[in-house]
Symmetry: C2
Subunit: 615 residues, 2 copies
């Protein structure tokens, strides 16, 4: 039995058919709609709630617990809901992708793109000029090759396909052709002069978000940019869930790879349409991302990353033909997967070190990218050391009762007097990372949280002002603080922060702070020695630095030296697309960074405990 | 309607089924039996005669003319015969492949094979040693790569397949693996220690014959050798016929490629069986051959070679994975197609210059390879110039009335007193190249041919001895000379050489001699300056040098300096398989040789006319 599923989102309706008993999350996924599922669809996070009109099985225990009163309003967890009749789904995805950061702070780079075109008019062959077709072309295109044993034609590398079509192409084009070349490798030969059409893409494959940029490789101009949620997130919010899923079977590994490949292809197509160009003219793509995301993109077995001693398959720069990866661009185009440092210091961090300019600074600077893991790099021109602190996904809104991504309806700032702002000026539905940091800072300032992280109870609250005391409450036996009263809330009740949420934040901020201190101890330096702090990523760009320092996430000594660098990973990928020199700098950075394994560090353990305290 | 075709050859019987009206040559070809068809199956050379028992259509005009009395004995031309009943075919292929030369005069080379194996026991990963799987392997195998932009993993080149299986392979083998490497390219990783199994093949793809050699790449030992007729010869004896056929349609081009690929695979399998090794352990194959044969092997459009100004697609060394070429060996194994100089100076000549040692000699030496074309190289350490003289296939027995290959039943020497020897001591059925040269020399010495090449007629024969005069005859209005009287012949009549045959020989020897003289004129040297003459190929090894000088094929001044070097092309390919240095020498030779185009040379035209005379 098949049922009709109408999906209403953003004022439009889409209809798909689903088998009886089909899981709603999977049905939505197949339709290309991916609710936020940090728990991996296990029914424990409650984030995939959607409003359902029409029949279905009785709500599960999890749904009752997680949805509470929203059940009565028709909300169900997509991951738990099985289809038993024609239904209509309401999704408020209006803002889900609205504030994802695609643009970093791009430096000026000298154009020296990975791929070049050269138009040549070849002399026609004669008895006085019997050069072979290939030689005739290479001589004119300045591509005669240097003769290394690595290439397949004495110094020039090319696919048999080019040689097979070359005689006919030369003769039919009147010996006027455009050679497409990368690193002395002949990628393609096109009839006539096509030099005005040469494009490239740069990607940042995040665990949560995929950001893409389309450039003209002649002018270096950014033609369009866009982003999508990483479709792999239906298998969980963090890299471990993805690895665990991929290793269940070869099919699962293939699916994991297909998901990201399709996402890349969809973004590529979208950017090309926006810019009015053909994807066949895209000849280069550079991918940044964490080590796991790049493993999954290339189809490598990432299981060694998930368990101690955390061994990736490779951290090297990977170059391959687009055709080998199934990427929707010119099949002879070159794809670069940027180099990583270790299982948990990926190409995204390397790209950040590149595009922030950290690698060429004197003395010591810090780069901090706070996500599920907090990647931290300390150093400059002379040395680079890095660690990855397992902060957990709290700053991404996961494991926080009312946590959500930085999308419409999220409280994104919270100040003294308990005033707040909401993304999209909508009625607040939850709170995102920057809002959570603000809230904890405000509660500390107000005395509602003590230095151990305990929310004031009946006894300790006694000395607090009335407006603080009246927001303290207990829900299901857990102490909590009302951030948004019920009458201001866009949900069915007040938006709160619980004692458990505060513990999550405490753990997360302690991990980051201890990571920073461990690197400083390794380098033997003090805060005075640190010249600049670069905050990478969306969270780093929206966070209130004063609040971050107040809760001890960032050292208070450094607040005057903080600079947000946006999507530094995407910026680095863009630089490597536009400049071969920057790609080689990225390789040097990856080789230079010394990785400090925190799980084996006694210093880190000590500092972690110390940093649990709120100062 | 299908008929049964019994094929009797060498005492064994094979049966195939054929459609009514099927062409016998094609039926035999599909059964893997390839009669000699220098005319390309056009019914004009008469070489594909086989004895047929059973019905068939009436003999054609061509068959009547070419077979004469043999028709009555049941002989028919396979190319003209259409099947109309069950038949039995008798083929005397006893010697067809018997005397094909596989062994050249191999020099000693210092072992430095294209492919190497290294067994490594890797340290297990730990928190103190978090190197990625690949790095762990490369470090131990001494393969860390030099970081050129041409490779696909920062300095090391490998297929995604290796990286995809590496984690599981390392873990299941207890980190004991064998790396297979060529030029810093990681070809494969095998579980455990497999270093004792590493083999390579060398091929000489001749227009007529394919010779193959199997070597152990550890010891350099030749394990087995063999040869087969080039199956493409069913489309004609010369390169032009093959090119014309291949360009008729993409299917024809594919078939041409498949034929040679299957031949290579059959030889590979045969050699491996003889040596008791597995083809999966063959990791390298080096191919020599003329420019056209290598184009057809690689699947390149060779049509530019067939017409002025004679333009090949490429002359470069080609390296590729065996899998790309469909060669039956390890799919990751490396295949090398040796470099060529021009459309008509191929890798076979380059290999000959290499294995003869010509390239490292002081002063001037000559290399002469006489086949359908006579490739001639003059020079030494300081310079190399080469030309290709279109001698025609007369010395291979084609276009000669009783001409045949150097197989059982062929007269291969002919001396004064009209004594002769026959290959295999069989009853003579025809005459091969060396016999033809001897015969013409003997006839010149006997005065039966004058300096213009005219056979004695009634008038001029008057002064000749009785035993000469009695052998002069006229058949179908053409003067001829009886080489083997009817009573000694293995055919139904005498074996003769006709006036037309002598003209063919005159043309051929004039082309070779004029080629040699043209190069000498280019170099500005005389015979005294030529130190050595290397004769390559089967014909060059069997030819009587005195006879060759007598008819003016080779300069009489140089007869004391002639050295036969056998299959120099196969020897050169073997050297390149066993020594990377020799491969690089071959590349240097190919670049160094200056090609002299005879079709544009006034010197050649003059010398050609002069050399038509018998001195």
């Amino acid at each position: 039995m098949e049922y009709r599923v109408d999906i209403r989102a953003n004022g439009s309706v889409r209809t798909v058919m689903a088998e009886e008993g089909a899981n709603l999350l999977e049905v939505l996924g197949e339709a290309g709609i991916l609710p936020y599922t940090p728990c991996g669809g296990r029914g424990t996070c409650g984030k995939c709630a959607v409003r359902v009109e029409g029949g279905g099985a009785e709500p599960s225990e999890n749904e009752r617990r997680l949805l509470g009163e929203r059940l009565a309003k028709g909300f169900r967890l997509a991951c738990s809901f099985r289809i038993g009749s024609d239904i209509c789904i309401h999704i408020d995805s209006s803002g889900e992708q609205a504030v994802i950061m695609t643009a970093g702070t791009r430096r000026q780079v000298v154009m020296d793109p990975l791929v070049r075109k050269k138009y040549v008019e070849l002399p026609h062959p004669s008895l006085d000029d019997q050069r072979p077709d290939l030689e005739r072309l290479l001589d004119m295109a300045g591509l005669s090759g240097s003769g290394t044993g690595l290439s397949n034609l004495s110094g020039i590398e090319m696919k048999p396909g080019i040689l097979r079509m070359l005689p006919a192409l030369l003769r039919s084009s009147g010996y006027r052709v455009t050679a497409v070349e990368a690193w002395g490798r002949l990628l393609s030969v096109e009839a006539g002069n096509t030099t005005s059409r040469l494009y490239g893409t740069a990607f940042d494959i995040g665990t949560t978000t995929v950001a893409a940029y389309l450039y003209c490789l002649e002018s270096g101009k950014l033609l369009s940019a866009g982003s999508m949620m990483n479709p792999q997130r239906k298998f969980g919010a963090d890299v471990i869930s993805r690895i665990d899923r991929a290793k269940t079977s070869p099919q699962a590994a293939d699916e994991m790879r297909s998901l990201i490949t399709e996402c890349v292809n969809e973004l590529t197509g979208q950017l090309a349409r926006n810019a009015g160009i053909g994807v066949e003219d895209i000849y280069a793509a550079v991918f940044s991302g964490n080590t796991t995301m790049l493993h999954l993109l290339y189809g490598l077995d990432a299981s060694g990353i998930a368990v101690s001693p955390f061994i990736p398959v490779t951290c090297r720069t990977i170059r391959l033909d687009a055709g080998e990866l199934g990427i929707g661009m010119n099949a002879s185009g070159q794809v670069i997967l940027l180099p990583c440092v270790s299982a948990y210091i990926g190409a995204d961090t390397v790209s950040g070190v590149l595009s922030s300019g950290l690698y060429e600074r004197d003395g010591y600077s810090l780069l901090v990218d706070i996500g599920t893991n907090g990647e931290i790099v300390l150093g400059g021109r002379d040395r680079l050391i890095a660690c990855s602190a397992a902060a957990g996904p709290a700053f991404e809104g996961a494991n926080i009762t009312f946590g959500m991504g930085g999308v419409t309806g999220a409280v994104d700032s919270f100040t003294q007097g308990f005033r707040y702002t909401v993304i999209g000026n909508a009625a607040p539905r939850g709170i995102c990372g920057s809002g959570i940091v603000d809230a904890v800072a405000a509660l500390l300032d107000a005395g509602a949280i003590d230095e151990t992280g305990a929310l004031a109870d009946d006894t300790t609250a006694a000395g607090l002002p009335q407006e603080v005391r009246e927001r303290l409450t207990v829900t299901d036996g857990i102490r909590s603080f009302i951030l948004v009263p019920e009458h201001e809330s866009g949900t069915s009740g007040p938006i709160t922060i619980t004692q458990k949420d505060i513990r999550e934040i405490q753990n997360a901020k302690a991990a980051i702070a201890a990571g920073i201190e461990t690197l400083m101890a390794e380098a033997g330096i003090s805060y005075d020695d640190i010249d600049r702090v670069f905050l990478a990523g969306g969270f780093g760009s929206t966070i209130n630095v004063r609040s971050a320092a107040r809760i001890g996430l960032l050292p208070v000594q450094l607040t005057d030296r903080v600079e947000a660098v946006g999507n530094a990973s995407g910026s680095g990928a863009s630089e490597c697309l536009l400049s071969q020199r920057m790609l080689s700098v990225a390789e040097q950075i990856a080789k230079k960074v010394r990785y400090v394994e925190l799980s084996a560090s006694a210093i880190f353990s000590d500092r972690y405990i110390e940093n649990m305290i709120f100062m």
